[in-house]
Amino acid sequence: MPVRTRRIAVPRAVRWGTFASMIGACAACAALVGCRAAAVRPEGGVASTQAAAVAPVFYPGPPARAHIVAIGPLTGHALAAKPPGKLRRAVTGETTGPALVSELLRPLSLTVRAGQILVVDVGRNAIVQIDPGTGEIRSVALKGMGEFFRPVAIATDGQGDLYVADAQAGRVIAVGSGNTVLRTYRLGDSAPFAPIDLAVSAERLYVVNRAGRRVEIFERDSGRYVGPFANSGPGRSAFPVGVALDGEGNVYVVDMAASRVRVYDPGGVLLRQIGAPGDRPGLLAQPRSVAVGPDGITYVSDAATQIVQMFRPPASLLMYFGGTGGTIGSMTMPAKVITDRTLLQTFASRLPAGFVPQYMIFVANQFGPGRIGVYAFGQVPPAGEEPTAP
């Protein structure tokens, strides 16, 4: 025999009253305890700024003197902001924000501008701006960009202008203050152009062109195409994927096919090579990105081995850090590595006591629990010596 159920009739007014009282209770509670659930959605993938302090990890480990300290993934929280409506998009041309960015999906590249860390997230197809001081995360809306903007790499120059590479559309754009597009860098119509990494000097813009398997040079301020860089002879890179500059204007090119980093002078003359194929210290398996510290130390990230190796000129291995293991310094398919001095003061309070930092290192991990790894380069003074201010 079927069981009969009888629906209890609740008057509509009571139902709405219950709903309204729930909303009211939530608001009252929020006012009392300072809850911002209604205004700010807690961030998911990147840990909160209020997260409990995690013990830093030193590299190399004892008994060697540490030179790198990992202080955990970059933290922050997303701001609640409505994505632009149709009318606003029609007027301003915005397409990418300022929508809520709750989690970095697959960061490939990053740079630092005016105290802000800008990350290219190919998983969200967005440029994400993280304020390391306040922890605010927001996506960057570029005015005048079309629907088919696919950023994959980002860099900045000394004036604070941004350079963003779009591999799919075959262009690099320069972005000034106010996030307005200043100029576009393209090759001729017939030449294949898929920019995947950038480096900016005072006069030049170096662009890794995946489609042409070479590095291209543009005049930075005019946008004029100059020609390919170091594209002939025995020092030619077969499959460049990353580029960086040192303080003297020398150009560092990551050749993934040859598992080497090649260093050229600004004229394209090969000066030296770093690494060789292999899986031991000093060797490179799948080098992905290169950065040069203010002290001339070269940092090379490796997507196969999950480490960053550090070399001093000409090509001597100093140490390595990262690796797997689940610590806060671990890496998961690292892509871009950069060094930066401007954010040293911002992170100073998070560095362990006694560690004398010289500059920061940021690593974009494509996967894993902490997408943006934060490290400081410096040293722990020998026992008995007082640490000095940076």
Binding site: V122, V152, R210, G278, L283, R312, L318
Partner: protein
């Protein structure tokens, strides 16, 4: 003496395998495969006998081998992780994101438990378990045991549908041609 014989046999076997693999697999990919111009070392990194001792990490112990692609992303095997290391949207075209990762982050679950992704975007989720019986029970598109496609640990990985060496000669490096949906019908019954 026995060690020497074993060593010689191993060397012969290794050289034979190497010769065979070079015969079977194109060392440099032909035009149209999407991998043209790439050599073995683009994906296969040698285990080097030597390295260099880090100046700031002195010691007398043997230099370590770093493991390759040794990390956790959903239920991807090391082969799929190798593919992902280049297929990121910059160095090589990305696999469909974020749908792939939403599925693969559901660790240990099958498509039938997670639900089908809203947008396949021309690609298939990876890392999911191939579970024909359960799929049939919950009225998901019927699956039949695929013997033509490899299923590492019973899961759909990149190599399930793609032969990265391009030995089959099918379009898009597929293991089975997808003309008339042949590849899809290897697993999915109508």
């Amino acid at each position: 003496m026995y060690e020497l014989i074993a060593l010689a046999l191993n060397a012969v076997l290794f050289l034979g395998m190497l010769y065979g693999s070079v015969q079977d697999h194109p060392v440099v990919f032909a035009a149209g495969t999407g991998h043209e111009g790439l050599a073995c070392t683009t994906c296969h990194h040698p285990h080097a006998p030597l390295g260099s001792r880090p100046e700031w990490q002195p010691g007398t112990e043997e230099l370590p081998h770093f493991p390759y692609y040794d990390y956790q992303v959903g239920m991807l095997d090391d082969g799929s992780r190798l593919c992902l290391s280049c297929h990121d949207g910059a160095i090589a075209p990305a696999i469909s994101m974020p749908e792939h990762m939403q599925i693969t982050s559901q660790i240990g679950r099958s498509v039938s438990e997670v639900g089908r992704p809203k947008y396949l975007m021309g690609s298939h989720p990876v890392g999911v378990r191939y579970d024909a019986r359960k799929a049939a029970l919950v009225r998901q598109p019927g699956l039949r045991a695929g013997v033509e496609i490899p299923l590492p640990d019973g899961r759909i990985q990149c190599v399930s549908c793609h032969d990265p060496h391009g030995t089959t000669g099918h379009e898009n490096l597929l293991v089975v041609s997808n003309r008339r949906s042949e590849l899809c019908l290897t697993c999915h019954q109508l």
